[in-house]
């Protein structure tokens, strides 16, 4: 489309800058034009005859200059006034075949309709919709301009600003994201906050029975105050029953597996609220990894194929270990392959889990430790815990924030948080191998054997294992546990710092070795091992 020159006037707005070009429109920054005397007349382009207001807002004025005294809240029936700085989204229809133009007007209609029906602090506000007339010149005749809240940038730009290459994927669609500023990557705490706000916006939309339809970091906008707004409702639609239909458009990286096989009906393709949930799962992964999709591949086609392979059960979901365990669980639920399974994870339920996690991790750590101490039944245990309290109050709070040593699935039973069951002096633990291909092998294939470490504070590698190998199903006797050894992740991505000291029976010169906690499903309430574990 033709570039809108700086200074171009649309109604009371004056274009200042290009923000970016999206799927079907171009977005510009604009300011309220400064009228001497504050009168709303004298449009430079004289196009007030040509534009009529969208039906979106119930503004009482018909000529497009009612907002001049921007803070006169009373002029708009809904009591809102556009700020001085806005974003203008141009949806041009010039040069389009009538059919395409109709499609574009339909897009604009969806956006205004959604904005009129849903008002929420987490959804970008649409102040006005203006259709340009003949006087706007041949390039813009018939163009629809949406007047929207101005954001500072999109979540994608934020993720790219911090990635080492400046961009996670080659992009050219965005005029602003050209220079990487080398910003700090999003912290876990900040990422958690952004995602929580995304979920709040989505919960509001879903609560009203709508589907966003094109959820992705490009459409999550970050305002100057850091708060999040969902934007771009061009594919949003109100559900009729459990699903609705939208035009067959989408962003490949965020399409749920059922969409790759979706059939095209007369009204388009089916979308459900679980469509947004899948996209949310992809986005959760991206937020903590600087924009990397959970599905491997260099191109959208490769990632789409990887998602398909995962959904068909031919490949496991392997998430990046930078994603904190809580969010990894959440993303895994969002990425349930079958939309029927995904439907159980409503955004409302996800938001509940996020808030519970937020409360859990914001409880002052000292308090929780002290409760643990009270529940401990032996004096030795109490003393060991007292040491831990001292250590954590010195600055280990950071890793409690959504990112501690908690394997998915075992929840608070990991023994470290909250009062656990009474301490036992030894326990039998069963070896577990996360490599599922090892299930099928009856004999003890050496490829499926697991090593026991000599020293859990040294890297878990070939030089640090005892000669004895163990296999899935073996039962070992453990006599104590070490909560903070070297972190070990298993093949499914579960990460743990915890180690169990196990007895060796058939090895000369050695009576004990260490099993990483990810190699067993058991979580016995063993005493902590002595402060500096003695190898062997």
């Amino acid at each position: 489309m033709e570039v809108v020159p700086a200074g171009y006037r649309v109604g009371e707005w004056q274009v200042t800058d290009l923000i970016g070009a999206g799927g079907w429109g171009t977005v510009y920054a604009a300011r309220r034009a400064d009228f001497p005397g504050g009168e709303g007349y004298g449009h430079v382009n004289g196009d007030e005859d040509g534009h009529g207001h969208g039906h979106g807002h119930g503004h009482g004025h018909g000529h497009g200059h009612g907002h001049v005294n921007g803070d006169d809240g009373g002029s708009a029936a809904d009591g809102e006034a556009a700020p001085t700085d806005v974003a203008l989204k141009f949806l041009p229809t010039a040069g389009l075949a009538p059919r395409q133009a109709r499609g574009l007007v339909e897009t604009a209609r969806r956006e205004t309709e959604l904005s009129r029906r849903t008002r929420h602090p987490r959804l970008i506000r649409l102040f006005d919709s203006i259709t340009l007339g003949e006087s706007a010149g041949p390039a813009f005749d018939g163009a629809v301009v949406l007047v929207m809240e101005r954001a500072e940038r999109s979540l994608r730009e934020r993720l790219e600003a911090a990635s080492p290459t400046g961009r996670t994927v080659p992009s050219s669609s965005d005029a602003r994201s050209s220079t990487p500023s080398g910003e700090e990557p999003l912290s876990v705490r900040e990422g958690a906050r952004l995602l929580t706000e995304v979920c709040e916006g989505l919960a509001h939309l879903h609560g009203l029975g709508w589907v966003h339809g094109d959820l992705k970091p490009d459409n999550v906008l970050i305002m100057a105050d850091g708060s999040v707004r969902l934007a771009d409702f061009g594919l949003s639609v109100e559900l009729t029953g459990t699903h609705a239909y939208i035009p067959p458009l989408g962003t490949p990286d965020y399409l749920p597996p059922e969409r790759w096989q979706a059939s095209l009906g007369e009204r388009g393709v089916q979308v459900r609220q679980s469509t947004d949930i899948w996209a949310l799962g992809v986005m959760i992964h991206q937020v903590f990894t600087g924009g990397v999709s959970p599905f491997p591949g260099a191109t959208p086609a490769a990632r789409g194929a990887a998602a398909q392979e995962y959904a068909d059960g031919r490949a496991p979901l392997r998430m990046d270990l930078r994603v904190p365990p809580f969010w990894r669980d959440l993303a895994a639920d969002c990425l349930s392959p079958a939309h029927t399974d995904r439907a159980a994870h409503t955004v409302e339920s996800l938001l509940g889990r996020i808030r519970a996690e937020g409360e859990r991790s914001s409880t002052p750590s000292g308090d929780r430790r002290r409760r643990t101490v009270l529940a401990a039944s032996t004096l030795a245990m109490a003393m060991a815990m007292a040491v831990a309290v001292a250590a954590s109050s010195l600055g280990a709070v950071g890793w409690l924030q959504f990112g501690d040593d908690r394997s998915p699935g075992n929840g608070a039973a990991s023994g470290q948080d909250g009062p656990g069951p009474s301490i036992v002096s030894n326990a039998r633990i069963k070896v577990y191998n996360a490599e599922r291909s090892c299930d099928r092998l009856d004999e003890r294939d050496s490829l499926c054997s697991l090593g026991l470490a000599i020293d859990p504070l040294l890297p878990y590698d070939i030089d640090n294992v005892v000669r004895t190998r163990v296999w899935e199903g073996d039962v070992l006797t453990a006599d104590c546990q070490l909560p903070r050894g070297v972190p070990v992740a298993d093949e499914a991505g579960t990460l743990s710092f915890r180690w169990y000291r196990v007895r060796l029976t058939a090895e000369k010169g050695r009576t004990t070795a260490w099993l990483p906690a990810v190699r067993t499903k058991d979580r016995p309430a063993l005493a902590e091992c002595p402060a500096r574990p003695s190898p062997g």
């Binding site: 999206g22 799927g23 994927v169 050219s172 458009l249 790759w260 009906g265 194929a305």
Partner: protein, 265 residues
């Protein structure tokens, strides 16, 4: 994604011994199918009952939006032809592992005594960029979910099918198969287009490219087929897959009152 489709025999004129029954396989991303003469100890997914073909002759593996061909024979070179490519082909030498196949339509030809043995592989997931070019490459842009190769024969068939409606000659009519054959005959490369080929192109569009939910209108085969053609044209127009500008792909129209050869245009 539809994955990849394998058809055996590739067409009726291929001289395959009647022992190999017709097979159609659908493979998703990551799926593998082996082909060869097979035996009790060497099971194959695609059996080519020809004594010149190895028991385990090769392997098809679907990766991303295309597929790879491994030649497991130690002495035979296979050919991969593009039936729409005016003789375009490439060789896959013995023991070549994972040769990527760039064609949406491909015919794999194995040498055999006398006639060659062949089967067809379709890769309908091939993606094409929208008019905005580079912006689509990043994967962050919002794209049409259905992408068509505008240089393919099926696309010509689609344009010809939609022509009456694109020219606003009719709001409901679609071209019939004989009309499409006649319309495209003067275009280079389409001289030998048959009615049967046009029908299979329309089936391919409906089943693989657009994945249309087939309207089941009646028991009659003719009625059903007609419903499918209208659905293909209706959706292609509604979602802008075929536009007025594509009419330029069709050969110039002769005025109806002129006889062919007299019009001179």
């Amino acid at each position: 994604m539809s994955g990849v489709l394998v058809h055996l025999p590739s067409e009726e004129r291929t001289e395959i011994t009647p022992a190999s029954e017709p097979v159609s396989l659908r493979l998703g991303p990551g799926d593998v199918a082996r082909f060869g003469r097979g035996s009790a100890s060497v099971p194959v997914d695609l059996r080519l009952a020809c004594p010149a073909v190895s028991r385990l002759a090769g392997e098809i593996r679907v990766t991303e939006d295309h597929w790879q061909l491994s030649n497991l024979s130690t002495s035979q070179t296979y050919l991969v032809e593009n039936p729409e490519g005016a003789g375009e082909y490439f060789r896959v030498p013995p023991r070549r592992a994972g040769a990527p196949v760039p064609f949406e339509f491909a015919r794999v030809v194995l040498p055999a005594r006398g006639a060659a043995v062949s089967f067809q592989v379709f890769a309908p997931d091939h993606a094409y960029l929208g008019t905005s070019g580079m912006a689509d490459l990043a994967g962050t842009g919002t794209l049409a979910g259905f992408s068509l190769d505008e240089t393919s024969t099926y696309f010509l068939v689609l344009v010809a099918l939609c022509e009456p409606r694109l020219r606003d000659e009719s709001t409901v009519a679609v071209a019939t198969t004989p009309q499409i054959v006649e319309r495209l005959r003067s275009r280079p490369g389409c001289e030998r287009l048959t009615a049967r080929a046009v029908s299979s192109h329309i089936d391919y569009l409906a089943d693989e490219k657009l994945r249309i939910t087939a309207p089941v209108t009646g028991p009659g085969q003719g009625v059903r087929r007609n419903g499918k053609r209208e659905a293909v044209a209706g959706l292609a127009l509604r979602f802008g897959l075929v536009r007025e500008e594509h009419l330029g792909l069709l050969p110039p129209r002769r005025p109806a009152f002129h006889r062919p050869g007299v019009a001179g245009a």
